[in-house]
Amino acid sequence: MDDIEKTKKKEEEAKEQKAFSNNDSRLKEEIRQSLIKDLEKKVDDGVDGEVTEEMVDELMAQFWKAKEETLEKFLKKKRREEKRALEGVEKQEETFTRFGLNFRIQHMTLFTSVLLLIFTGMPEKFHEAGISGFIINALGGIKVITILHRIGAVGLSAMFAYHCTIYTIFFRQGRRDFVELLPMPKDLFDVIQMIKYFFGLSKERPKFGRFSYIEKFDYWAVYWGCMVMIGSGVIMWFEVESINLFGKVVVDIAKEAHSDEGLLCALAILIWHFYNVHLNPRVFPMSWVWWNGKLTKDEMLEEHPLEYERIMEKKETKS
């Protein structure tokens, strides 16, 4: 019984307080009156009404100031906490894993090998340039260069072999991505749409799926490049066997193809790929997807809206 009465009382009090807090001036008046009553009792003898008024005014001012400050402090704290909580929730919702660890390691092997290959191959192609002599001598002469080039070649070949066989055949993600990467009629329409957009004939950029035509081009360029470079490279690495089997002309063709395709690869990487993942104003100085494999919701909506829609649909059907 007592408990019920107490809770009832409390509820009533809380209601009253709420009502008071809704009206600042009423609250102020209440406090003022009670203060006057209290003080009048204490300073009954020898103190006139005016002095009491003055004291109460001063007390009220101080009290009100303290009340406002405390309120502000609390509100700030509460807002900050709310914001933090909100951000955390949003972050979890907004990142999308684009590349798994396996694929990221493949990409890292690929670019280390290719950079090493470009760095040791270009001075040989452009041997007349002064910088070529500098690079070759700085690395320890032509012998060291050829060994470094072969190390790069082994790295690239291992990565390419792994990607084409094990990753594409035995990994679910590999199989899925391979299918997604196949050129489709939509890519042609996307190119046309992009050209329209570039020239202002259309206000909309084409909507890409998991892989845009730009990324598909990159992928198949690497595929073709690897086949030409590894094929011709192997012919030249085992030059005696190649000539014995096919004649010198095969090695000459391999050398020409290796040299020319090498330049094409280097230019495509340094200009095209670097623009798309480094220099382009949207990602400058670098898109971090190669490192953490993640895209934010904004990036997904801008670059891969169709994939975003698909992921969201999947989530909905699951839940």
């Binding site: 004649g247 010198k248 020319d260 094409l264």
Partner: protein, 355 residues
């Protein structure tokens, strides 16, 4: 007829010498003192080791040589009395006259310094008595300007002068295409010094040598890259350029000691045309020649051209591969770069709109 000619010759010499007689009276008298003995053909001395030292001096040759106005004692400074006593020292050209700042007007160049650093000079100063000094190549009393056909170091006589010591090499050279053409009087083919240098001859192992691993291609290209020389003999001048572009050339340029240069395949002193059965680059011999560095090379190495220039149509399929890649690269890059600039332009335009 011959007698008449001889008489005329003698008469002119007599008259010519008569003209200068008054001025050279003193010197002439001195020379005559020497020629009393040294002017007799067959005047010689038997050395301790049994060899015969010919001491005959042909006065006519000496008088026509570049030192024609010098007297015996100008060079043989240690001779003061007749008959000579003690050891007669060899004349030291560079110390006695041909030194920097000499007052006698003897021509002086840096060639002596070059000699000091050459293989011959180094050996000489190391005490090798077989090493040649000035006189061994230039002659003693018969020194003429190199342009004079009588000079031992004239183009015409040079291979034989070197052959005094390097006989085996001379025999190899004589049978090579360069040697054969030289014997025919060809003025374009190289003699020893054209490749090896003159006073600066160094060992082929020395990187500074004109025929060192790294410099051989340059030595050959002095003639073999010149169209005006090569077109006379129907030899292509592309060989040097194609070598430089090949892996052999690039590795050689950056100091590889094992990679092939011109001489590795074509030979050194025994260079012969590929049509020659004995040539190292004859089709039948190519597997062996290539096999020196590429063990297991077979006859397929001899098929097709070795010096290929992908930039000319004669290269056949290689030319078309080269052209194909050239256009593939140009078109791809033009496309990609256009895409990049359009993208940049569009981004800028859009950012302006949003502003």
């Amino acid at each position: 007829m011959k007698k008449v000619l001889k008489l005329i010759l003698l008469l002119t010499i007599f008259l010519w010498s008569e003209q200068g007689y008054a001025a050279e009276l003193k010197n002439g008298a001195e020379l005559k003192k020497c020629t009393t003995c040294h002017g007799k053909p067959g005047f010689s001395k038997v050395l301790e080791n049994g060899k015969i030292l010919d001491l005959y001096i042909d006065e006519k040759i000496l008088r026509n040589s570049v030192h024609g106005k010098k007297e015996c004692t100008d060079c043989h400074v240690d001779i003061t009395e007749i008959p000579h006593r003690g050891e007669i020292k060899a004349v030291n050209c560079s110390k006695q006259c041909h030194f920097i700042g000499n007052t006698s007007g003897a021509p002086q160049t840096d060639k002596y310094i070059e000699y000091k650093n050459s293989v011959h000079g180094k050996e000489f100063f190391a005490g090798n008595k077989k090493a040649p000094v000035c006189q061994d190549c230039h002659g003693t009393h018969n020194i003429f300007k190199p342009s004079n056909g009588l000079s031992q170091v004239s183009r015409h006589n040079l291979p034989r002068t070197c052959a005094k010591c390097h006989l085996n090499i001379y025999i190899e050279y004589k049978e090579s295409i360069h040697g054969v053409m030289f014997e025919k009087g060809n003025k374009d083919v190289p003699v020893c010094t054209n490749c090896h240098g003159e006073h600066n001859i160094r060992r082929p192992e020395d990187p500074l040598s004109t025929v060192s691993k790294g410099n051989t291609a340059f030595a050959c290209s002095k003639c073999h890259s010149k169209v005006e020389i090569m077109k006379k003999y129907g030899i292509e001048t592309e060989q040097v350029e194609t070598f430089k572009e090949s892996f052999h050339g690039v590795a050689s340029e950056f100091g590889s000691k094992t990679v092939a240069n011109c001489a590795s395949c074509h030979g050194v002193h025994d260079i012969r045309p590929s049509t020659d059965q004995k040539s190292s680059i004859n089709k039948a011999n190519i597997p062996k020649t290539c096999g020196k560095c590429h063990p297991g090379a077979n006859i397929n190495f001899a098929k097709g051209k070795i010096h290929v220039n992908p930039k000319v149509k004669e290269a056949g399929i290689i030319y078309y591969v080269s052209q194909g890649f050239k256009w593939l690269t140009i078109l791809t890059m033009v496309g990609l770069v256009t895409h990049i600039f359009l993208d940049l332009y569009r981004r800028k335009a859009r950012s302006k709109e949003t502003e």
